[in-house]
Symmetry: C2
Subunit: 459 residues, 2 copies
Amino acid sequence: MTERLVVVGGDAAGMSAASQARRRRGPDVLEIVVLERGSDTSYSACGIPYWIGEVVDAREDLVVRTPQQFRDVHHIQARTRHEVVAVDTDAGRVRVRDLGSGREYDEPYDQLLLAMGAVPLRPDLPGLDGPGVFGVQTLDDGQAILDHLDAKDVRHAVVVGAGYIGLEMAEAMVVRGYTVDLIERTERPMRTIDADLGCQVADAMQGMGIRLHLETEVVAVEHHGDRGMRVTTSAGELPADVVILGLGSRPNTELARAAGIPVGDESGGVVVDVRQRARVEGVWAAGDCAEVHHRVTRAPTTIALGTIANKTGRVAGINLGGDYATFPGVLGTAVTKICGVEIGRTGLGETDAHAAGYDPVCATVETTTKAGYWPDTASMQVKVIAERRSGRLLGAQIVGEEGSCKRIDTFAAALWNEMTVEELLNVDLSYAPPFSAVWDPVLIGARKAWDAVLADETR
Amino acid sequence: MTERLVVVGGDAAGMSAASQARRRRGPDVLEIVVLERGSDTSYSACGIPYWIGEVVDAREDLVVRTPQQFRDVHHIQARTRHEVVAVDTDAGRVRVRDLGSGREYDEPYDQLLLAMGAVPLRPDLPGLDGPGVFGVQTLDDGQAILDHLDAKDVRHAVVVGAGYIGLEMAEAMVVRGYTVDLIERTERPMRTIDADLGCQVADAMQGMGIRLHLETEVVAVEHHGDRGMRVTTSAGELPADVVILGLGSRPNTELARAAGIPVGDESGGVVVDVRQRARVEGVWAAGDCAEVHHRVTRAPTTIALGTIANKTGRVAGINLGGDYATFPGVLGTAVTKICGVEIGRTGLGETDAHAAGYDPVCATVETTTKAGYWPDTASMQVKVIAERRSGRLLGAQIVGEEGSCKRIDTFAAALWNEMTVEELLNVDLSYAPPFSAVWDPVLIGARKAWDAVLADETR
């Protein structure tokens, strides 16, 4: 008899899982139905700011595989604009709304994968749901922004929130020639890195003409039709022809909660085991909506990143296909480029480490991306966070010019293996003058952190 | 009473050791004398091809610290143009020749560090020791080459040997506008990477106009004064105004052998323990002349690279300064850029793995340095070598365009920790569209290698 796998959500996690399951079980033994609320499957949400910033040409460029490709090549039914509105785990079925026709129907399953992703945060403030105010999550969002920018005489952009998406969108707005005001509730942008390194990001943004309004809150947005909008903040008013929200997101778990599928109190994600099984028989979860184990804090968390969605989706799909795989957890590795500044992080920053209960010892080094004498060598800062006494690596952060930040991956591999900074400083990394100094920045950072651990001991 | 440390050789290993010892013991308790045959201390030999290729402006750029800086700042007596001609370990002294005056004298020591480096291979062929034929090891060699190129009407360069130095020098000669013939004894250039990836290097070189003469041996060099030279090879004759030798090197251990200090039969390097102590009381060794433990083959070897010289020198110096450090071994990581092609390697290639007794399973992937849709994304190939059955990573090789090959460091960190490719494929590496696809090339390589290991099992 043919089994039925129903996947809720057709982006990275859902489609990775569907593809892996299909590789292991043909359509004759496993029917796969993916229900996706939006218009696209398997798209690069991370690419949207670059599409709007005209680095990437076309919407199609951001789609890895279309529903038709899934259907024709992989025999996976991916129904877009179909929203799952309820899950009945006792009956083994989901209630689906076809957003085109408004029709609702039941879809039975043997196995159910929850891959609903995350929902962007959108505070309940006057005018924030009006026209001209946009979130940045789906390709439809991106298209709506572009349509708005093309239709209106846009000169002033207001971006709310200075995390990855907010910063990338602020830069995209500058590239398009608008004045940009960036409003951030806290005292600095890019709070995923420590303050000492983060100041470079603020400098670079201001250097590109972005006006930063820190410790400022949005109060309301007034809409004046063709005359644009007026954004009222805790520190005054700003004109706006477009408002972009980059306030972060939370796991999309309403459906799971309503169905009685356990969701972590602290993490806010669907609780899963090492194979991505939820706590209810026949239900699985992967991607932004699922908990992941953080290998350094050792606590469950959620992180809305495509890298993790792809990996957890793959693991779920291998298991759903009858094979065996486990997901070993995350480090919180991330990288971005803002106004010419590259930023990388893995593991815990100094603040994070304290919050997790560690006693960290830190070292920050100024170094270069290539040999010091190389013509276009660029500057970079590396901060290494180690545990007091043991010298165990807890995290690393990199801020610098072109060619700096992908080195964060070497720290990530070291952190994964719970290396001490003393051991890391001896690792046989590569060197040639066009690529680094003879002591790679990773090694220099580890050396200085080890010096700091020793100095702390004899304090 | 003041102790005396004598260091033979004033480049990376010797000066790293001297500096580390000095940091721990002041001049009142430890006198440090460095005896260097050449004219410079602490210089970047790796930079010489770029100096000759006019990427780097001046000889001074390649000197990290001068003898005077060592003397004035670190209270280290670095005597250049002083050659140690004999070691008497019973008496605890070395015999030194001042190459300027020809005078010889004895220098007593309490501790002796051997850091003589490597000697370039120079076959005993007619004419190979004549004018216009150059090795590339010291800054004096570099200066001699430049003086020759400036003085003569140079049009034809012949480079012998297609390893790192030979290839880099061939490119430098093209950049200077000469015709370049590269002669290589074996069937391909860059034999430190497997043949399947190496072919790209040959293509790139030929694309730049370098004429490759493979499976060809130099027989003799005839000197015709101002009319240049004629290089006779096993496949014909070539005109040459300059001949560059890039035939590799061997550990410089004559001094040690003559003094009865044990040298490894297979490795050819001075035998040392984990703290860099030679097998004779009071004698230490570091850098190109010393054995290192290869963490993958598990055999002693020698590798002439600045990275390893700096690290082993540092470890020796910490111990000589009365502290404690051990050197954990090498992976054979290396990187270079030849005619626009980046090349990286770590651990064992497919051929190396067989030679070491492993049964390897390999996978090669074609991927991109940035998101596939990014405007200037570049192509790269990754080859991953894993152990059959266990899936343990044994090595990796990368060949590609700009932005490819520093990723070898992530493989190196994984290899250092004896990870399996299955575990590696889940490591939380960074992603953003300007830096990689959502599955970084390292992860894609690991995935494909794991697929290959599984496929091999069910074969």
